[in-house]
Symmetry: C2
Subunit: 343 residues, 2 copies
Amino acid sequence: MDRKRYVILAEGFSGDPHYGKTARGVVRYRRDDVVALLDATRAGETQDGRPIVPTVDDALRFHPDTALVGVATQGGRFPPAWRELLKQCIRKGLHVESGLHEFLSEDAEMAELAARHGVELRDLRKPPPDLSVPSGENLRLPTRIVLTVGSECAIGKKTVALELDREARARGVRSQFVPTGQTGIVIAGWGIAVDAVVADFLAGAAERLVVEGHRRGGEDVLFVEGQGALVHPAYSGVTMGLLHGAAPHALVLCHLVGLTEVEGYPGQPIPSLRELVELYEHASLPARPARVEAIALNTRDLDERRAREAIAAAESETGVPAGDPVRFGAEKLVDAVVAPVHA
Amino acid sequence: MDRKRYVILAEGFSGDPHYGKTARGVVRYRRDDVVALLDATRAGETQDGRPIVPTVDDALRFHPDTALVGVATQGGRFPPAWRELLKQCIRKGLHVESGLHEFLSEDAEMAELAARHGVELRDLRKPPPDLSVPSGENLRLPTRIVLTVGSECAIGKKTVALELDREARARGVRSQFVPTGQTGIVIAGWGIAVDAVVADFLAGAAERLVVEGHRRGGEDVLFVEGQGALVHPAYSGVTMGLLHGAAPHALVLCHLVGLTEVEGYPGQPIPSLRELVELYEHASLPARPARVEAIALNTRDLDERRAREAIAAAESETGVPAGDPVRFGAEKLVDAVVAPVHA
């Protein structure tokens, strides 16, 4: 992967688990390529050992070459106040990478400014031009496909896939993380943001990603980054297209303990873990029925005793092995989902 | 709605229920605006009383003002041989309407030619530029929302919605057909092709359509045109986004009697009607659980006795009222799904 020197633009959101998830994910999994974060509301602090600065000029002391838009907005459009910040970065000679639905490279003013300053505008969510429907190759790949699915957005589906991939590699398994969203693309250096493709080509894009993941070395197992949730009123279509196009053999159900309602949709409930297991298994492709073989709980809001209680309760409710791979290690979940490849 | 004088381009496919479905749907439901069909393989025949001609020059005798691309291709791209035909139409001064994913208006050669001849290129599948995620208004509309869902593509979901709307109007019910695909858009004169929007905005587009259907007079009931199928390996994401964004109170399950496998996907089975009923009900939005309240069978491949037997068998398998609204009238299905509005 190309080495980069990122300054991550996360003004106001660097600590936010939802809207700042790009910033947090990239700092966590690509720390060597991050020189600073920009967030005036937390200036002087650090995040995962990286300095947080208040302005673009302050960031320049760390010699970044690329500014990464580190926030995700509902609907994926640019907050107006961001335009000035991005123009500052361009004028200072930084390339800009963005994962929002609104493409910088198609913004005439930004494109002209970038050309004048000799920098690139890279839209991570811009789909490849030649997508189509699935060919059926997803069902013929000689590898085991594991997809993370969830109860909500922004609860750790990407993180769980990355942690399981890391643990599998540590065991010598030929494993690949398959990125399906803008943060995963920055972390892995390849991928397609499936939520940004034309809806008819959702499953086709997902198939292409598992085919590429296999080609890149995932000969034993692929851990595919999940998107959205089947019960999410805005993003369930993306989840469904990914579920059928990636054609997983196994699912890992991700959940943030304590969530009961979809963020931004008051009155829209999140079902129980047992109901979610049933729904995902029921919705999987008839030609490739998938089972939930592990549950990954995000227990960040609990102390350790309560976290272990929540894990035990999830196992007892569903009969499926559960754990928090970030907090307590990914061994148990990898045992649950990868073992069958050697069977 | 604007009056038009369409020649429908359906070369090789005017009689094909799958790839010629745009041609057939528009001739059936907007016959007064169709002056001819172009299909050299059936020249000299008629369809629903409209002449079929072999060339653009022959079509001109009927004074069309607009050429409509009347085929749907897998993946929605232009077969190369079509480009010459479209250029002929443009040179003869016809506007061109197309519902394929490949946009004519973004094709430099076509756009230049159209400008030179003073005609418009209208891409029916081009989404509005300002789509976003749902606001929740779909759950607050004071009308009854009915969505047609199905076992496959191209089996009659649009036709069933149109027939139910027509029957409801004949009863004095304030009903609207809500178009969600290119053919429905031509028939109704408005709408969004939800399969062509950015995947994240699927549900948002569907919500916008039901809001507009209500505003256009669907104060008692909306019949929303379904898309794809939840068990379709390519298009299930679209189906799911539409199911959650349209937020129907009731579903009408459409099925072509005899289908057992998804077209184009050998080995991918279509489940039984009972399994489909369970799947659609299970997948409906937790905040708006929907029931399958009627089954619309397409019995075109059966004689009348076998058709009636198939309908009885569907009712006995599922416990849900069934009928073939095209062949035997829509009364029974409208009774089943609209009655509750007066309850």
